[in-house]
Amino acid sequence: MMLAFAEIKRARGRFLSIIGALALITFLVLTLSALSDGLFYGSTGAYRSSNADGYAYSTDAEGSLIRSRVPVADAQKYGQIPGVTKASGLGVLLTSGTGPNGELDLAVFGVEPGGAGIPTTLTQGRLPNPGEDSAAAVDKTVVDKGATIGSTIKVGDRSVTVVGVTQDSNYQLQPTIWTTIPTWRAMQASVRPETRGLPPNYSAIALEFSNGTTAASIPPVTGTSVLSTDEAALAIPGVKEQRSTLNSIIYTTLLVAALVVALFFALIVLEKRELFAALKALGTSTRRLANTVMTQALVASIIGVIIGVIAARLLGLALPAQVPTLFRTESLIQISIFTIVASVIGALFSLRRIARIDPATALGGALQ
């Protein structure tokens, strides 16, 4: 311990370089992870906050709510399948509307109050009641853009009054408003004139299962297919790809952290070969020298990670709201631990080198 801390204290410059490198790596990984989480959570909130266990789409929609279109009658058919406790129509419309502070991108969700597919993350007010076609609950991001309970939001020629606020319920990074099926249809007809005159349909059907029933065990109604809510979230176009791309960058960066630490300590040990040989000659065990190096790696990585976390959080505060980042404590703890573990693994590589140093080389010096 004495050697480890004295060196960090008195040879500060050299340790600052490794601490700095680890801080930058942590910062990078955290920012990437916040972006990955932000994209994922912002895209899939409508599913993750939903009370539904699964969704039925038209088969050609490949799990996309926007492409999917199912006949109204299918909801009843699903309702009769054993294991399905609720089957409710769901309407989705990506569009823009007008809030108290001007234009908003919106994802309008038409749901059956009391049915499946409604958000469970209400933080204020309530959801629209059955038949209450002029009301809507909105996601908190709409509130962040100026709406409050009682404000009016207008889509096409239809206006709704905000009666409740939900949290983390967005869809494809668009703020959601949750209204009734008739209001959704009216808004769709207003902003998508081409849908007027088509037979009434839903975008998809939200399903609730009894215990023991899974999406895979439901025999789908002709022309539709069923996904569990988790599968549905990953089926949103781009979500899976974004996540795997960002995750592989994160894992590669952690590997780099291990390599950087491995190289750093390899150099430190190489440079101190003569000193370590002398210390061994004086009766220092290899274990004690190894502990010194591991302690230094641990201390340097903990300090680096703390600085990286602080920097990433500061960046998070400074970023404009349009950048979809989400700093989750869980991800933060996980990444901090991963970075520290990667550093320790990197430092482990220098132990063999320490073990191989022969104390006998301390005598004789250059003459030997």
């Binding site: 204290k9 009766g283 005598l363």
Partner: protein
């Protein structure tokens, strides 16, 4: 500079032999390619004696002193330090032996560069299994005082002169009250005057404290401070009578 601080004749016959080297051989390699670094070397050094080991580069003096100090294991023969047989010990036992019973002074002091003079002493005090922090702090301060380093105690080696560094190294060697002090070319990095001072100091400490000291050197001028002189040439150790000392040096 006066050179009368040590009178070898007075102390030569004190006590029983602390260090006994009997028929020690060290060979490297096997069969035809075997190289004998030390051939059947024997010597014994008593408590309070400071001896020098003279020999040119490659003569085997480093190999011999390494075996005596528990850094190398002899191929055959016995090395005894007090009641312990060094030549039979495992690596781990040797590490403990070096920490507890052997003090080393290296060619280039080899102090820990990021520890102060005092911390360098305290570091070796922490090596033996049993150690007391309080006693170590007291002893370090005493030693630094004796070596005239009290006001330099909190400096790192970089801020010390070459002579001061070697004095700290001597303090470090004495710190754990070892039985045996091995000194490897202590004057290699010093000028003559400083070298003399350092060797005189070593001789004084060895005597006063009743240690056994062995100094490897190729500097004939330093021999006068030691009680006995051994010469080593091509692995063969002989006790010198003081007349044949390395002709030509």
């Amino acid at each position: 500079m006066t050179t009368n601080t040590v009178a070898p004749a007075d102390v030569q016959q004190t006590g029983k032999p602390i260090l006994e080297v009997v028929d020690v051989t060290k060979t490297y390699g096997e069969g035809h390619t075997a190289v004998t670094a030390i051939a059947a070397a024997s010597l014994s050094v008593a408590e309070g004696q400071f001896v020098s080991l003279l020999g040119p580069s490659g003569s085997g003096k480093t190999t011999l002193i390494s075996m005596i100090g528990g850094l190398l294991t002899p191929t055959s023969g016995t090395i005894r330090l007090g009641d312990q047989v060094v030549s039979d010990m495992s690596k781990k036992e040797l590490t403990n032996l070096r920490a507890e019973r052997v003090g080393f002074v290296f060619q280039s002091s080899n102090l820990v560069p990021f520890l102060t003079a005092r911390e360098n002493l305290l570091y070796v005090a922490s090596l033996p299994k049993k150690h007391s922090r309080k006693a170590a702090a007291k002893r370090a301060d005493e030693l630094l005082g004796e070596l005239g380093l009290s006001d330099r105690a909190n400096n790192v080696p970089e801020k010390l002169s070459g002579g001061e560094r070697q004095r700290v190294a001597i303090g470090r060697a004495l710190m754990n009250d070892p039985d045996l002090i091995l000194v490897d070319e202590p004057t290699a990095a010093l000028d003559t005057a400083l070298g003399r001072q350092v060797v005189q100091l070593l001789a004084r400490e060895v005597k006063q404290r009743g240690k056994t000291g062995i100094m490897v050197t190729h500097d004939l001028r330093m021999v006068e401070y030691t009680d006995q002189v051994f010469e080593i040439l091509d692995g063969h150790l002989t006790k010198s009578d003081g007349t044949t000392l390395l002709d030509g040096h």
